[in-house]
């Protein structure tokens, strides 16, 4: 890849103190990865393999025990304006209207009021929620709330989006619609994204590359380049005949059949 590297992990290890048994639990070990500008990479692995730990280190909320995390070439030591994250929970604040929720990040970063509102409304239109700007979160459906959360993430104009199973709490149809929205938005804005997911099809449909992690201590055991066109159109990609091949490959890597036997 000739493009600039946006997010980079260099030999990153994370250990947690284990107060009950003493000593340490190694969550992830020796992880190195690089995501280029505009790339969408999925991270897939068994539960508890440290995927979310990687994401926390990427966002600067948790420091790495050893190794380096860099965003746009800068060493990540604390939360910074290059990165924004999105979780399975929408985390919308019930006392704020949708547009005020979208403005939260900008408000914290002290963006001027008028500009903030304009940008938030713009994004809500892009996320197909323009009529709900002044509603409260409890008045929206789960899918709409997650769209608002996406708008909030994009509002701070991060170069890198870190997403931890953003759609896993949604029903199957809503999920596909939101994947489509996200795929298009990421392509339109040229954002770089690291997407953690449990959904194999989602990984194949959404990303340029898939990184597969092992059981704890998590390591990256395989990198799969998804060679299907139309990354901006996950709905069409889903239907591509090559999807099944990738799924089989992922199932083998994750030893899913062995687990069921």
């Amino acid at each position: 890849m000739a493009a600039t590297t946006r997010l980079e992990f260099r030999d990153v290890t994370k250990r947690f103190a284990n107060p009950r048994q003493g000593g340490f639990v190694v969550a992830v070990e020796g992880v190195s990865l690089a995501i280029a500008d505009g790339e969408v990479v999925s991270l897939i692995g068994p539960s508890g393999c440290g995927k979310s730990t990687l994401l926390n280190m990427g966002s600067g909320l948790d420091p790495a025990s050893s190794g380096e995390v860099r965003v746009d070439g800068e060493l990540v030591t604390k939360p910074n304006k290059h990165v924004a994250f999105m979780l399975q929970k929408d985390l919308l604040l019930p006392w704020r209207t949708i547009v005020e929720n979208v403005e939260l990040g900008q408000e914290i970063q002290r963006v001027a009021g008028g500009e903030r509102r304009k940008r938030a409304l713009d994004l809500l239109a892009k996320c197909r929620l323009p009529d709900f700007a002044h509603h409260y979160p409890h008045q929206l459906s789960g899918g709409m709330r997650q769209r608002a959360a996406l708008a909030r993430t994009l509002a701070v104009d991060p170069t890198v989006l870190l997403m931890d199973e953003p759609f896993s709490a949604l029903d199957a149809q809503t999920k596909m619609v939101l994947q489509q929205d996200l795929g298009r938005t990421l392509a339109d804005t040229g954002k770089t994204a690291l997407l953690i997911t449990h959904d194999l099809v989602e990984a194949v449909a959404m990303s340029d590359r898939i990184l597969v992690m092992s059981q704890r201590p998590g390591r990256i055991i395989e990198e799969i380049v998804v060679e299907i066109s139309d990354r901006d159109n996950p709905m069409r990609r889903r239907q591509h005949p090559k999807v099944a091949t990738y799924i089989v490959q992922l199932m083998n890597l994750l030893q899913i059949e062995q687990a069921a036997a």
Partner: protein
Amino acid sequence: MSKTGSLAMQPGVRKMMAGSALLFVAFLAAWQWGPGLFGIPAFIIPPVSLVWEQFLHMMAHDHLLFHTGITAMQVGVGFVLGVLLGILCGFALGMSPSAEFVLSPYILALQIAPKVAFAPLFIIWFGYTVYPKILVCVLIVFFPVMINVLGAVRALDPDIVRLARSFTANRLQVFWKIEFPAALPPLFAGLRIAATLAVIGVLVGELVGGNIGLGYMLAFAEGAGDTAAVFVTIIMLTLIGIALYGIVVAIEGRVLHYLPARARLAT
């Protein structure tokens, strides 16, 4: 609050309001003639007309409004101070689990101790002034507020705080944008409880010592065997409590307007 206007339009609600008014009239009638019917003398339960006359008399000759004002002022000051202290301690302890751990036995002891028992002590300290009354009120109001705020800080989803921090929020921003607004619904639940308790605190202080306020009037009326005057002071005390509660509910309606209707209390 703003809902009452539209609610009154509905026929079902109008019927309920009519029923409520009817019940009030029936209650007054029972009070007026009920005791006589059962041969209860007026010095045990004075009929409502007598209480009304006594009320007018006390207004004209005994500075009833002045004494009510004094009590109301003490309730107001005690309530506000107690609430502020409760909020402050609630957040402080909520944010510092180690402080809560160290202080919890003392907090628990102070919570269990009957606060009204402090009234004589405070009178020894401060004499027959307004301070002992306000202080008992502060002590009583403090706990429900503190406990609710503390619980709210603890119950806050840590991921929301992490989200704010990932947007580079500093400690102060996390507090004002996340923790404080998140604690408001439980805080108001605490304020409702505190509002009903505030009057008790002041009253006990006034009963124990002093020569102004409704508590003093109550003790004086008791000494004189003036049952009607006792009733009047009880009613005035209740009115102070209702006014305070009404203020809390009105503010709550404005602050927590975002809550879905089903999550709000009717009274």
